[in-house]
């Protein structure tokens, strides 16, 4: 009921679009409704007086139709304006991200040379600071890549390669690659394949991104306790592989659970200001899994933990 009422509040909706009232579709729809009802009643009353004079009635109906057409036209126009704005925004992000990557790679490679001692010996303190710069640069590159992925998703440009993949091997590899981070966070990871699993046809790089995002979240949101993360792989109805990653972390507050997959969303839990993140990982993961023909969902309870699941079709 609350939702329906919120939808009826068109003025607020129009403000969210950032367009004038006369350009706002929901407002114009209400105007159409008022015109239709009003003109029906008007025609009815006038027609009673001029029942013999068909021309007047025809004329009236014609005028009403013309007014409706004009309003319709402005609705269509305003939809076009909205669509164009959204497209321009996506393109803007894409161009800016790409332009950012060149200077960033330049910084990254220069740091590589400095830190590898290829330009001469540096003092311990100099290295320490440069390591800091390197970390920030890598974080920025990651953010720019995420923004690019988002704009690609929104432009519908996400492309899935069909490659044979053993998911259990990919998961094991990712855990291995993250072991330093995992250890630093005082977390133990249990990974098991429940049964012998078939290969899937899917995109390695994209699925890798999803697994990285989910693992990263699980490890990052453990909190102050001894972390335990359980990762499982099994078959589901012989048609899908089911991946799950369960943590005993801080969990996602119940009232925010419906927003978890939204762009830029970050949960308002105790770790919000202690962790870094752009709020893009799960948005990207959802788009990837759905483009690959699977589903992604989660269960979470505050202070108990969160489990994320995704499926991939076996084919």
């Amino acid at each position: 009921m609350k939702k329906i009422l919120a939808q009826l509040n068109f003025i607020k909706g129009c403000r969210a679009y950032g367009v004038e009232l006369w350009q706002c579709p929901s407002f114009l729809f209400i105007i159409i409704g008022v015109i239709i009802i009003g003109s029906m009643l008007l025609t009815y009353f006038i027609a009673q007086f001029f029942i013999e004079l068909e021309e007047i009635i025809i004329g009236l109906v014609t005028i009403e139709t013309i007014v409706l057409l004009i309003v319709d036209f402005s609705i269509v126009r305003s939809f076009e304006v909205l669509a164009l704005t959204s497209k321009m925004k996506s393109e803007f992000v894409s161009i800016v991200s790409h332009q950012l990557k060149t200077p960033l790679s330049s910084v990254k490679w220069s740091l590589n040379l400095l830190l590898n001692g290829r330009l001469g010996v540096l003092s311990r303190k100099q290295i320490e600071y440069l390591e800091g710069v390197k970390q920030s640069t890598d974080k920025t590159i990651e953010l720019v890549s995420d923004l690019l992925s988002v704009s690609r998703i929104e432009e519908g440009k996400i492309k899935i390669k069909q490659q044979p993949l053993r998911l259990e091997e990919l998961v094991a590899k990712e855990i291995k690659e993250m072991r330093t981070f995992i250890k630093a966070q005082n977390v133990q990871i249990d990974f098991k394949s429940i049964e012998k699993l078939p290969q899937v046809q899917t995109d390695h790089q994209l699925i890798r991104t999803v697994i990285q995002n989910l693992l990263n979240n699980a490890v990052q949101y453990i909190g102050n306790k001894k972390g335990l993360i359980k990762i499982e792989l099994r078959k589901k109805n012989n048609a899908f592989l089911l991946f799950s990653v369960q943590d005993n972390g801080v969990g996602i507050p119940k009232h925010q659970q419906n927003r978890v997959f939204q762009k830029f969303f970050r949960a308002d839990n105790v770790l919000r200001y202690k962790t870094v993140g752009t709020g893009l990982g799960l948005f990207i993961s959802k788009a990837i899994i759905e483009s690959c023909g699977g589903k992604i969902w989660f269960k979470s309870k505050e202070d108990v933990g969160t489990t994320f699941y995704f499926t991939l079709p076996i084919k």
Partner: protein, 124 residues
């Protein structure tokens, strides 16, 4: 054995410099070009053992350079490593179809990894 020659076609000065530095340290002779036209000219003149090619370049873009290198008898066999920040799958596919040996996205690689890939591509 003679030193191997690598041609770097890259318009961003710092990137060009870092590549030149590390490749020289690794024992290669390095030639550099800051635009596509000069790159092609140097490739024809010196017939390098490998070419590192950016895609967004002044005068002639990387795709054109790649096409012309592969069309010319003299340069056809030279392995070409694309080094760019374009990462759309269309660009990757186009470059590989035109005959590039490897496609690397700059921001995703550490400099040392780029060198490993270059060495791998030369051996092939």
């Amino acid at each position: 054995m003679d030193k191997l020659t690598i041609l770097v076609i890259e318009d961003e000065p710092t990137l060009q410099k870092t590549l030149q530095e590390i490749l020289t340290q690794e024992g290669f002779i390095v030639l550099s070009a800051s635009d596509g036209e000069l790159g092609l000219e140097l490739a024809l003149k010196h017939k390098p053992d490998l070419i590192l090619l950016d895609l967004i370049l002044p005068k002639k873009d990387g795709f054109e350079v790649l096409k012309e290198l592969k069309a010319d008898e003299i340069t056809r066999e030279i392995p070409i490593v694309i080094l760019t920040n374009l990462e759309g799958s269309i660009d990757v596919q186009r470059a590989l179809e035109l005959g590039a040996t490897t496609y690397l996205v700059k921001a995703n690689y550490e400099l040392e990894d780029v060198i490993e890939k270059v060495k791998g591509a030369i051996k092939k």
